[in-house]
Each structure stands twice: as structure tokens, then as C-alpha cells.
């Protein structure tokens, strides 16, 4: 599939241009709306479809292997924390799915490390990373291997 944009729904806001990982959604200077300038570099990742506030972007299966007449539509609702899908087969079969996208208010539980407690002196020379070993939940030290057990060459 590749993405395409409906003329009557697109208002040229550029959200899709901003998010596309492949840099293929561009604003057409004449019609001032978005379009896919390079369908053969589209990964059908749906980033632009999810980002479009007007639901103006849809996908048509790649011409080289997908028969026409199908659709896979999506609505991603960040405030509700859900994503909903509707799959329509060429023969009319419909399937609907809804999944959560987050369990917490957006970004609120991600620490700002610049303001967090500083690491102890000397820890930079240890093998532990941020919030270790506590964050491993093992109530143990970070595991290691004795160098005496190293064996060179063919082992099997």
C-alpha cells in the first residue's frame, strides 16, 4: 500500500510532513495540500495517517501485489489512550479492533534526569546503569562472569 490524500479533506496543515519517517509527505505548492511524492519509499507505517487531524490520508495497497477494493482505517486518540482499527476486505468482510496505547497520562511518569538525584561518586567506574541494581527487581547485585571460565576458540 501507499498513502494518498483526499483533496476535499486536506487543509495543508503539514502534520504529515512533520512526522513522516521517510520524508515523502510534502505540501504541493500549487494546490497547497499534502501529497505522497515517493510512494515506492512508503513503508505503510501509518504515521501520517494517525497524525492527520482531518483523516484526509488513506492507504491503497501497493499496485504490484494488492487487488483493489480494501481499506484499513485507523483512529488514534491520545487523550483516551486508545487506537481503533477498521479492516474492510475486498469481499466486504469487516473486522474491528481497539487497543490501548498507554497506561499513564502522556509523558508524566518519564523522569527529567537533570533534576533527579545525582549518581554517587565512583559509580561511573562501576558496571551499573541508572536505577540499577534496584531497577532489575532481583534484590541482587548485577550479574557477572568469572574470567577464569573464558575459553578461547572452538568450544562446541
Amino acid at each position: 500500500m501507499s498513502t494518498f490524500v483526499y483533496m476535499t479533506r486536506c487543509d495543508g496543515c503539514g502534520h504529515c510532513v512533520d512526522i513522516c519517517p521517510s520524508d515523502i509527505m510534502h505540501i504541493d505548492e500549487t494546490i497547497r495540500r499534502a501529497k505522497n511524492i515517493e510512494p515506492n519509499f512508503c513503508w505503510e507505517c501509518y504515521s501520517c495517517v494517525k497524525a492527520c487531524p482531518n483523516h484526509a490520508i488513506d492507504v491503497r495497497g501497493y499496485a504490484d501485489f494488492a487487488p483493489m477494493g480494501h481499506s484499513v482505517r485507523v483512529r488514534r486518540e491520545e487523550e483516551k489512550g486508545t487506537i481503533s482499527w477498521k479492516i474492510k476486505f475486498r469481499n466486504g468482510t469487516i473486522k474491528d479492533f481497539v487497543s490501548p496505547i498507554t497506561t499513564k497520562p502522556w509523558g508524566k511518569f518519564i523522569p527529567k534526569l537533570a533534576e533527579a538525584e545525582k549518581p554517587d561518586q565512583g559509580e561511573i567506574r562501576s558496571q551499573i546503569l541508572y536505577n540499577e541494581p534496584e531497577g532489575l527487581n532481583t534484590k541482587k547485585e548485577l550479574p557477572t562472569v568469572s574470567k577464569a571460565s573464558f575459553k578461547k576458540g572452538v568450544y562446541y
Binding site: A63, T102, P105, F109, I110
Partner: protein, 619 residues
């Protein structure tokens, strides 16, 4: 040239690429380097960039040490077995012992983890995989990077690393251009962490025309992970170890959850278990490796390819049994919607309802990467407490260029990291980079204006090539003076496909084919001096192509060097059709001389730091 404004940014830690590894690096660098200036540069937008842009439905690397499900040494045994013995066990162990703390953070940050209702533990898909609702995996980890870095630059493609002019073989930063404004960016840095992507689209994909972008690995992963270090003379390892994926046909939808969780299985067109048929044949090639449990991925591919060539196709996944359970049917579909929407589109378009139809499988074109079930990448130092002398030179995940670190696809030898392990490796590299700075190893770095100006001329040359060449012709795409990025890419893909073991030859190559491939690649390199770009978007495609071409040369040199067939099912050396432990139970390491462009290769010992628990019989 004057129209491209130059911006200078000096920093302590420069992270190139904001995917899973890069976001992990930016995050951890802030913890250890509170007062350091940390910059992350991303080709796209870090909210949806890298291989995890569209999300994931599973985290494929989680030990579960808190419940004693697995220990790091178990993961070393697993990855070693899957890669036919060839991994850097120190790197693998190191990643595995830290990965749980990474996953616990993701849980804390709001990534929806599925739970086993009976035990309350994370729901296992398989021994190593846990299931998630990961549509927003990338935006969540991107948030952590944004909160940690001083600045994130989106839409800048890094084209070259800068080298220090005071001390030989020490990095000095990186340069690139902004594909929106066309401006030139110079990042002078004390340390650089390359966390860019592996390489899709170096071998011709099965899909053609409009569908070309439907590769298994993201089309925007253009091998910068390799080209950046190769260009400055960093050593690389196991670059011959490309991966071929057995996936659902056309969409390359993942099969992991289907095999492991839904318990679906494969059969040939006659409904037979074809893998058994090829046991004796495979045993002759690889000996007792075929008896290992689980069967190495490449050997399962091998049976698939042999069965297809013998006329047993199409090979199918038997889904009609599992999909009668409505819960499993939902899992099967959501698995695609969470990470490979394209497969859902293919099935919808072809009326394939896996409840009633057993979908077809295929083997993909080859890919080069360091994070999945393969381990191509840079030759890096391991951690002090785990690494034998040949594997340790002061700083964890530092390449053989001083001050240059790697993570994710960049790092060779540490297979089976996946998303969580790549993020973890970014954390490891970042801590080591901060230590490198604290140890005052990055003093008096000098990057001259001349070096920066020189790169500026090189970077924008494709625009000039086009402008000059376009004036010679009336129109169209055919010029005697330049080739477009897509023309160059298709030429590269044909060379790799036909000479280096792509789908055209059923993954077969040999010394003579590789020699011819190298000649053709050399001419392609020369012609890429004349690649023409119409605009900044095409300029990006031109540099992606150059990175892919350099990566391909390295892959071909490595494939030529290893005179055995170590991974049947990934590729075959027709002139050395057997696995040869006597001569090749070793890692391959290459270095390209930046002055001459010539590669030299060597064998390096493979250390087994973890013993084999007990011999298990193949199932």
C-alpha cells in the same frame, strides 16, 4: 554554495540517530553527565523514527530475572546457537544483564505490557519475548530522550564523521544537512555515539514498482550505522552475516507471535512437515548444528528454500486451527496492526482471512543489521569485567576510533538485542562516553574550518551535478552526465542481488561472483561522484545511497573472506558449501583504509565465556 548557511554546534556527547539505541543513549548520558551538553540528531522526527516508528507488539528481549525465568548466560547460549556459534558473548551477556531494568522503565513510563492473568507476570510470547500494546512505543521513549538531551535536531541527515586533527584516530564530531532548509550543520563533539540504522534496500527487494518500499526492515534504515564508521577507518565485524526473514508473503508480517503464542505451524502445499525432509541434507552441510535446540533460524530457512526449489511450494502457515479461538484471532490481527499494518492491508486486499485460509509464507531479500537475529556491525570494546584482552580497549562500546561509540545496529557481534536491547546498548555506550570525557581523553580536540568547508563542498555536490547536467538535455530522466538516486539504488540492488547472494540466485554466491560484484561496486562508487539531486529530498536519497553503497562493499569483502557456508539459509558460498569449524570458527574483522579505500580482513578468535549447560536433543 553560499546559499547554504552554516550552523556550528559544539557539544560533549553527540548522538547520531534517534531510534531505540539513540533515545537510550540520550537518556543515560544525562544521568551520568549532568552538566554535559548532549545533542541528538535525527534524520526524521524522533517521535516516529527508526525501526520502531510504527510500533511493536512484542519486546523480544526480556530476561525476567526477577522471576528467575532466564539469566544472561541463558541468552548468550540462545544467541550463540542461533548464529551458529558466532557472537561476541561479552557484549551479549552485558546487554542481557541490563535489559530488564530498561523494560521495567518502559512499564513505568506507560508502555502497555500484557500480563499473565494467573501469575501477574509479563505475558510471555516465547522464552524471550513479552507481549505489549506497543503502538506508541516510539513516542514514549522519544519523550525520555527529549527530556534528557539539551537539544534534538530533527530532519538533519548526518553524512560524515569529523576527525580530530590534534590526535590521530580520534573523532571530532559530525556534519550533515537539514533537508527542509538546506542548511549545513557542523557538530563539533568530544564524543560521538553512532546509533543510526542498519541496511535495507542494498539487495533488490522482491516487491517492485510502487511496492518497493514494502521491505521487511524500514526503507529509511540506509546503513548509516556502518557507512559512518567505515568511512573513518573503524574496524567492522561479521558484515557477511546478512539476514533473510521467513515471513508472511508480500507484507512481511511477523511470524513470532504466530509460531510461539498462537502455536501455528508451517507445511508445504501437500500438507506435509517439510523440515524433516531436509534433515539429512542439512546435516551433511553443517553437521551436528542441525541437532541444536532450538533449530537455528538460518537452518529453518534452509529447509524452506530447499523445499521451494524442489517444487513443494507454496509454503503455508497453518492458522485455521488457532484462529477458531476468538481471542487468538484478535491477537493474530492486532499483532500486525501494532507493528506491520501492511500485512493487514495485503490480507484484506486478497480476502485472506486466516480463520479460513492458511496464508502463504516467503523468504525475504537479505538485510544487514546488528540488532535482530544477526550481528553485523562495528568492532567494539566490551565491558571491563567480561571481556578477554582482544575485546577490551578501555571503554565499553567504543569503536576502534577513539571517542567514537556505537549502539544498536551499529554494534557487531551482539545479536538478538531487538528494541529493548538496542535501547540498553545506547545506555551502555552513553555511560562509557561520559566516562571517556571525565577521564579527560577528549581534551584539545581540533576540527579545522578547512575540514568543515571540504565536507560542505562534498555534501552539496549532487545538487550541482544535477543543475549542470540538466541543462545539457531537453528533459526526462536520461542524462549522460549524472544518474539519479533511484537509478543508482537500482543498480546497487542488482549487483548485490545477482553477485552477492540475493533472491535472484536463491542466496547463492561464490568467489568468482563476488570478485565480479566488487568490480561492479567499484564502478558504481566512481559513478556516485556524479549522482544528481534535484532538491534537498533527493540530496538525502543521494547520501542514503552512498551510505548503502559503502556498506555493500564491506559486506561483499567480508563474504569473499569467509570461505565457508556458515549460515545456510542466509547465504551460500557455492565454492565452499560446508560449515568449516576447523578453519572458520572465528569472527571476521575488516578495516577500510580511508586514504586508499582498500579493505584488509583478519580472523579474530571467538571466546565462549559461557559454557554449554547440557546437551539438548533437537525436538
Amino acid at each position: 554554495m553560499a546559499k547554504h548557511k552554516t550552523h556550528f554546534e559544539d557539544c560533549d556527547v553527540l548522538v547520531v540517530g534517534g531510534g531505540m539505541a539513540g533515545t537510550g543513549a540520550a537518556f543515560e548520558a544525562r544521568h551520568w553527565g549532568r552538566d554535559l551538553k548532549i545533542i541528538c540528531v535525527e534524520k526524521a522526527n524522533i517521535d516516529r523514527s527508526g525501526a520502531v516508528a510504527q510500533g511493536l507488539y512484542a519486546i523480544n528481549c526480556y530476561m525476567g530475572m526477577q522471576w528467575n525465568e532466564n539469566q544472561p548466560e541463558d541468552h548468550v547460549r540462545y544467541a550463540r546457537n542461533d548464529l551458529m556459534g558466532m557472537v561476541r558473548e561479552d557484549l551479549g551477556y552485558d546487554m542481557a544483564r541490563h535489559v530488564d531494568s530498561t523494560v521495567h522503565m518502559f512499564d513505568e513510563w506507560g508502555l502497555p505490557m500484557m500480563k499473565n492473568e494467573k501469575t501477574g507476570r509479563y505475558l510471555r510470547e516465547g522464552k524471550w519475548q513479552i507481549m505489549i500494546h506497543g503502538e506508541s512505543y516510539k513516542p514514549i521513549v522519544a519523550e525520555a530522550a527529549k527530556k534528557s538531551a539539551d537539544k534534538i535536531y530533527n530532519r538533519i541527515m548526518i553524512t560524515h564523521l569529523l576527525m580530530d586533527e590534534t590526535k590521530e584516530n580520534r573523532v571530532g564530531g559530525a556534519v550533515g544537512f537539514n533537508m527542509r532548509t538546506g542548511d549545513y550543520y557542523v557538530f563539533r563533539a568530544k564524543t560521538v555515539i553512532v546509533a543510526a540504522g542498519g541496511a535495507s534496500h542494498i539487495f533488490k527487494p522482491r516487491a517492485v514498482g510502487e511496492g518497493m518500499g514494502r521491505t521487511w526492515y524500514a526503507p529509511w534504515s540506509n546503513g548509516s550505522a556502518y557507512a559512518l564508521p567505515i568511512a573513518v577507518g573503524a574496524k567492522m565485524t561479521q558484515m557477511e552475516n546478512r539476514i533473510v526473514l521467513c515471513r508472511f508473503k508480500d507484507g512481511y508480517g511477523p511470524v513470532g507471535a504466530y509460531f510461539l503464542h498462537l502455536k501455528t505451524y508451517t507445511q508445504n502445499a501437500n500438507g506435509e512437515n517439510y523440515e524433516k525432509k531436509w534433515y539429512d541434507h542439512t546435516k551433511k552441510m553443517v553437521g551436528e548444528y542441525i541437532d541444536h535446540h532450538p533449530t537455528p533460524t538460518c537452518l529453518r530457512n534452509h529447509a524452506f528454500i530447499q523445499e521451494t526449489m524442489a517444487g513443494g511450494g507454496p509454503i503455508q502457515m497453518v492458522t485455521t486451527e488457532a484462529f477458531q479461538d476468538p481471542h487468538l484471532e484478535t491477537v493474530g490481527w492486532e499483532n500486525f496492526l501494532g507493528m506491520t499494518v501492511g500485512q493487514a492491508v495485503v490480507w484484506a486486499s486478497q480476502n485472506i482471512d486466516p480463520k479460513y485460509t492458511n496464508p502463504e509464507l516467503t523468504t525475504s531479500e537479505p538485510y544487514v543489521m546488528g540488532s535482530h537475529a544477526t550481528c553485523s556491525g562495528a568492532w567494539v570494546s566490551g565491558p571491563e569485567d567480561l571481556s578477554p584482552p582482544e575485546y577490551f580497549w578501555g571503554y565499553n562500546r567504543m569503536l576502534t576510533v577513539e571517542g567514537l561509540f556505537g549502539a544498536g545496529d551499529t554494534v557487531g557481534g551482539s545479536a538478538h538485542k531487538f528494541s529493548s536491547g538496542s535501547f540498553t546498548e545506547g545506555r551502555l555506550a552513553a555511560k562509557a562516553a561520559v566516562k571517556y570525557i571525565e577521564d579527560q581523553k577528549a581534551e584539545n580536540i581540533n576540527v579545522s574550518d578547512k575540514q568543515c568547508e571540504n565536507f560542505k563542498k562534498i555534501i552539496y555536490k549532487p545538487l550541482e551535478n544535477y543543475t549542470v547536467g540538466r541543462n545539457e538535455i531537453t528533459g526526462g530522466t536520461v542524462s549522460p552526465s549524472y544518474i539519479s538516486p533511484i537509478q543508482g539504488l537500482q543498480r546497487l540492488q542488482r549487483i548485490m542481488d545477482e553477485y552477492v547472494g540475493g533472491i535472484a540466485t536463491n542466496y547463492m554466491t561464490n568467489g568468482n561472483m563476488l570478485k565480479r560484484g566488487l568490480e561492479l561496486l567499484e564502478w558504481l562508487q566512481e559513478d556516485l561522484e556524479n549522482v544528481g539531486a534535484e532538491d534537498y529530498h533527493q540530496l538525502m536519497r543521494a547520501w542514503e545511497l552512498k551510505h548503502r553503497a559503502l556498506t555493500s562493499q564491506c559486506v561483499t569483502e567480508h563474504t569473499m573472506f569467509r570461505e565457508e557456508t556458515r549460515w545456510p539459509g542466509y547465504y551460500y558460498r557455492g565454492d565452499h558449501l560446508k560449515l568449516d569449524d576447523e578453519n572458520w570458527h572465528c569472527l571476521t574483522v575488516s578495516r577500510r583504509d580511508p586514504k586508499t579505500g582498500k579493505f584488509t580482513l583478519e580472523k579474530v578468535p571467538v571466546y565462549h565465556i559461557v559454557d554449554e549447560k547440557e546437551k539438548k536433543k533437537a525436538s
